[in-house]
Symmetry: C2
Subunit: 337 residues, 2 copies
């Protein structure tokens, strides 16, 4: 590999001057600069990133921890982050927590050891303790959370208003005439499954529909199979249910498969609203009414916040944490009247 030293020897000048010429320092003569640049390109010189990192104490690399990569929403977020980072000259190391707190903790450690310039994270469902995240702050590494956040952790955040979106989804079911509305909720820990549940409950209350806890099903894996399983359970438990608000599209699609199997008419007998607007939801039958969650935008915004914080810290500006709330839309399709 070619080094500054070799270019310097080749031209009989000092390493300092070579370095300055390549970095467009103003105090290098045009002639020297030209000569150095030509020689560098001739020798196919690439600055040694390891040495640059050591000197400048930054790697222009950030870390990203995400619960699951094979997932329409999250892969859209990743795409948003990576494309925005590339524009600003940053590379992204991606890790997958598999919804496990233990893995997530290890991965935070991996990234801190790697000395990334910042960390983006969406929490695992299993994460209920946040010491590993406060450790990030203690190491002076900027942190931005998105989608699945922890309220108590002090850092910038990008989210949607899950509660409001869930409220609107449930309200829509009420407005088209549903009286007995079930909810398939996510696990207990993540803030977004709590908020979606609260939005559901709030809508019922506002429209004077009695809350019936037996209509709320607590899911764990949030998988297609679970959707089928609880759909079956729902119609065994409740003959009179006429609407279901489901925490996430994949589960809703499993539920629809089960309802289809059992010959239940959607939306005539049962109205279904999902959450996330996976591409898939537009192509199944019946197509799924759902809340559109802007994954790509969320990724872009999360990186932008992180980038700003990295820059501000370098300039020793005081950091103020921001909370960005992105808009959602209820997309009406054939699974509701």
């Amino acid at each position: 590999m070619v080094t500054l030293k070799q270019i310097a020897e080749e031209l009989g000048i000092s390493i300092t001057t070579v370095s300055k010429a390549l970095k467009d320092y103003p105090d290098v003569s045009k002639k020297t600069r030209k000569l150095v640049r030509e020689t560098a390109s001739l020798l196919n010189y690439k600055p040694n990133a390891f040495a640059v990192n050591l000197r400048t104490k930054e790697s222009k690399t950030i870390g990203l921890i995400i619960p699951e990569i094979v997932h329409h929403f999250f892969s859209s977020v990743i795409k948003g982050i990576i494309s925005q980072a590339e524009k600003k000259g940053y590379l992204v190391i991606t890790l997958q927590s598999n919804e496990s707190y233990e893995l997530e903790k290890k991965q935070i450690d991996l990234l801190l050891n790697k000395r990334v310039d910042g960390i983006l994270i969406s929490l695992a469902n299993g994460t209920g303790d946040f010491k590993h995240l406060t450790e990030v702050a203690e190491n002076d590494v900027p942190l931005v959370m998105f989608d699945k956040i922890a309220k108590v952790v002090k850092c910038s955040k990008v989210i949607i208003d899950d509660r409001k979106a869930a409220y609107k989804a449930t309200e829509y079911l009420i407005k088209i005439g549903c009286k007995r509305i079930a909810h398939f909720r996510g696990p207990l820990l993540p803030q977004n499954s709590i908020d979606r549940f609260l939005g559901y409950k709030e809508a019922l209350a506002n429209y004077n529909i009695a809350y019936d806890s037996s209509l709320v099903y607590l899911l764990d894996k949030m998988s297609f199979e679970e959707g089928k399983f609880f759909a079956k359970k729902l119609i065994e438990d409740h003959k009179d249910v006429d609407g279901v608000f489901i925490n996430t599209d994949l589960v809703a699609i499993g539920a629809i498969a089960e309802f289809n199997n059992q010959g239940i008419q959607i939306p005539e007998a049962l109205n279904i609203v999902g959450f996330s607007n996976w591409f898939m939801s537009s192509v199944i039958s019946p197509s799924l009414t759902t809340v559109d969650q802007p994954g790509f935008e969320m990724g872009k915004k999360a990186f932008k916040l992180l980038y700003k914080e990295i820059k501000d810290r370098k300039k020793n500006k005081t950091i103020t944490f921001k909370k960005v709330v992105l808009d959602t839309d209820l997309i009406l399709r054939d699974s509701t009247k």
Copy 2:
């Protein structure tokens, strides 16, 4: 940040000894080792990765370039790569080429400048020139290609036998009685769309069905919309078509949507086989007969090959490039009789 020097000063010993103690060199007394380790953990010492990289000339980081992240097959591959890499202590920098040759080229350069220990790549559809890839070899960086490979580039590869899989898919259509079989093919450059086309043609030939080039449609974006568009075109052009082999599931799903719209009975009037086995394909109506492509396995295998090459180079072993061909399965569903 705590350094070796600080630990050394704290204990009144040399940096050398501290370094050795932390790395379990045998020539350090047990007492010293214990003391050093305790102090290091007390001070929350983390080795400076930048300095380690510079000294050892490796970063335990690899680069990954993929055409599109929001894509069931590719995101499965990424998951396979990342999980396998993590097991071996490697981190993965992911970039997305967006099917663009120009971007891909730039990204190879980014990764070489970053001095990653190796590169994994699946080529963009737009890539027809391979200088950027030979440059990787010239920089002594191990390279492994997967899925969308270039035959002429000398490196290890992980693929499926696209031609054979396409042959079997087409053969299946023939065996269930199709006489006029169309093919929606991918763009001209990528090897896999060439091979799938050749497999289709070979099956026709082997079963004495005349090849009719007007039954072959050349797609560009490989999107849902293109699937709809060419499905419409197909039934305008050919009243007598009774089977279609489609290069990839997303396109097939678009086509099915259009056929459904037009009231064409699948599979009674028209049999459809896709390629890739996206999750979506199992939940649409009718569900799609398709070739299962093992994305997660491919990712794991690709990393393993890269890892072995990295190790072998360090030991100055001679490198022999391997070509691993993974098995595919034809998954029979409701879109074929």
